[in-house]
């Protein structure tokens, strides 16, 4: 494409340079036509270049601070880099050894499994709760809009703070959750939520659902407003009940929204880092490590940078596979 355009832009110029001979052969009229054509090409080129110039600074920035690090990270994962040779010194290539080691590493397998389990549990609950809330707030009662607005707050709060708040709620001695369970006589003694493997994961999932509900709710709310009211009217004329209407109108028409909510939710939840790092740091005994926290631990606590990079790359590959679906969904309406 580019070559052809360049050739076209040169052709009139060549003809023009041939000057006198050309004029004699074809007459002044044709030259004028050639000139106009050349101008057009030139203009087109300038126009396109201007667009590129606007984007270039941001693109170069991302190339330097994101593009290069990604490639560097891939190279790192094939080397043997530790605290000694991180900044300078020779770095030996050991190819796939890091990856092979990982697949025999129990903590890595646990992290991979944890990340999947955590993501699926969070997605299911935050989606269902978010959906119910979106339906509830689509009724037109006085407080619908203001209350729905305030419910967005959990999503905006720094995750570190959320982690701290849930640590407080799930605290063993002073935690409200233990207090409530005791008052309801559901448990005799205080549960050590964050220091018992199974319950620690439960606490993490709860905290993440709390963050995710507003996101799901607001996106589904927006999706609901795009469904034409007439459809519901004609459905009620046809004698459809609420449940029928929901399954035959609301759900199918919300399909694009639901798709993007779930895919985005997966991506955001799967790369969870802050929440887990602050609440449990992967403990107790590595039982709540996620791919991201394990990668961090390997790199910045054990200084096995290459192994940490390898874990991060596994995370990256999984995200990119899911990301392809997201990009497909996002760019489907883009084609001009």
């Amino acid at each position: 494409m580019f070559c052809a355009a360049a050739l076209f832009s040169i052709m009139p110029a060549v003809k023009y340079a041939a000057g006198g001979w050309y004029k004699v052969a074809h007459g002044a009229c044709y030259t004028l036509k050639g000139e106009a054509f050349m101008k057009k090409i030139k203009k087109m080129f300038r126009y396109e270049n201007v667009g590129m110039l606007f984007v270039l600074p941001a693109f170069v920035y991302m190339l330097v601070f994101v593009g290069y690090p990604i490639i560097r990270n891939i190279i790192l994962s094939f080397q043997d880099v530790n605290a000694g040779n991180l900044v300078r010194g020779t770095k030996n290539f050991i190819l796939f050894d890091n990856y092979l080691e990982l697949f025999q590493d129990d903590v890595f397998r646990t992290s991979l499994f944890n990340t999947l389990r955590y993501t699926v549990m969070c997605l299911v609950f935050q989606f269902v709760i978010g959906f119910i809330l979106a339906l509830f707030f689509s009724k037109r009662f006085t407080l619908a809009k203001p209350v729905r607005g305030i419910l967005l707050v959990p999503w905006m709060i720094p995750v570190t703070v959320t982690a701290l708040m849930f640590k407080l709620l799930f605290a063993t001695d002073i935690g409200v959750i233990n207090y409530i369970l005791r008052s309801l006589h559901l448990t005799g003694k205080n549960i050590e939520w964050l220091t018992t493997p199974g319950t620690a994961m439960f606490a993490l999932v709860c905290a993440n659902i709390w963050i995710g509900i507003p996101f799901n709710m607001i996106l589904i709310s927006t999706g609901l407003t795009t469904i034409p009211k007439e459809l519901y009217e004609s459905a009620s004329i046809d004698g459809a009940n609420r449940i029928q209407t929901f399954f035959s109108i609301t759900l199918p028409l919300l399909k694009p929204t639901i798709e993007s909510v779930l895919i985005l939710g997966f991506i955001y939840t799967f790369k969870v880092y802050d929440l887990v790092y602050v609440m449990t740091s992967g403990g107790p005994v590595n039982s709540t490590h996620m791919l991201s926290t394990y990668s961090y631990k390997l790199s910045f606590e054990m200084f096995k940078y290459s192994k940490g990079s390898a874990v991060a790359n596994v995370l990256l590959v999984i995200l990119m596979i899911v990301g392809i679906f997201y990009i497909k969904a996002t760019t489907a309406g883009e084609e001009e």
Binding site: M1, Y47, G51, M52, L53, F54, V55, F65, V66, G67, I70, N73, V87, L133, F136, F137, R140, F141, V147, L151, L152, V153, P154, M156, I157, P158, V159, T160, V161, L164, M165, L168, L169, Y179, W210, I218, L219, T222, K229, Y232, F246, T257, S260, I267, F270, K271, Y273, D274, Y277, V278, F300, Y305, A312, N313, L315, L319, G323, Y326, G333, E334
Partner: protein, 282 residues
Amino acid sequence: MDEEKKLNGRKNMVFSIISIVILCILLFPLYWALITSLKTEQEIFQNPPTFYPHILNLKSYAAQVETGDFNMFRSFGNSFVISIGATVIAVLLAVPASYGIAKYHFKGRKLMLLSFLVTQMLPVSVLLTPMFIMFKNMHVYNTWIAAVLADATIGIPFSVLILKNYFASIPKDLEEAAYLDGCNKFTAFLRILIPIAKPGVMVCAIFSFLYAWGDLAYGMTFILDQERRPITAGIFNFMGQYGTKWSYLTAFAVVTIIPVALIFIFMQKYIVSGMTSGAVKG
């Protein structure tokens, strides 16, 4: 879902009450953190717990100003400088970029758009170690600059994708009218298009700020000294050292939420638009 009409008296009342109950349940963690920060340590450990502070205790806030190492107001200042820095970079770079992508069909446009989309999905883990090496080589490790440069990489792709839609929705006639009035490409962009896209620019600025404000990984990894670390890293450090000093910890948390609360109160409409347009088809 299907009610076009407003709900009438009684139903309206019932729904409103239910919505208040939902609100109370969902915002309870926030309320609990706030009142814990206002209780005395003694009251926090009281059983059964008190649901509002019986003795109002502001010491947790005051003590932070006096002590040196874990001064949360200094951390607050650090976070503020870092977040503003990241926001400025993100907006300055993303505004022209999104305009270029929305209005010109140059070669490589699709590729660039795709690369912004992809960077939005990247986990921090992939970038931490290479950035760490890079910032050490650039001699900005352990300074605010490192955190600013890293945090801007979250704001830029988000802003480009949001603003692209704003610019695309501006009719071409308007731009052409500007050319007739003697504007060129750049002056038309500055004087006509940016003012129209201002709400979009606000959304980008707010979200870039919020992302940077909430960041923990970059601030903690690229800045070593507590005096220069952002407030999120401050909380984390504090937790490690005084794990159960809940009055101080929650006071720290409340201070961290202040800017978020202010943004929410004064700029709520931008939040909704940012959350929804970020994910819906462009």
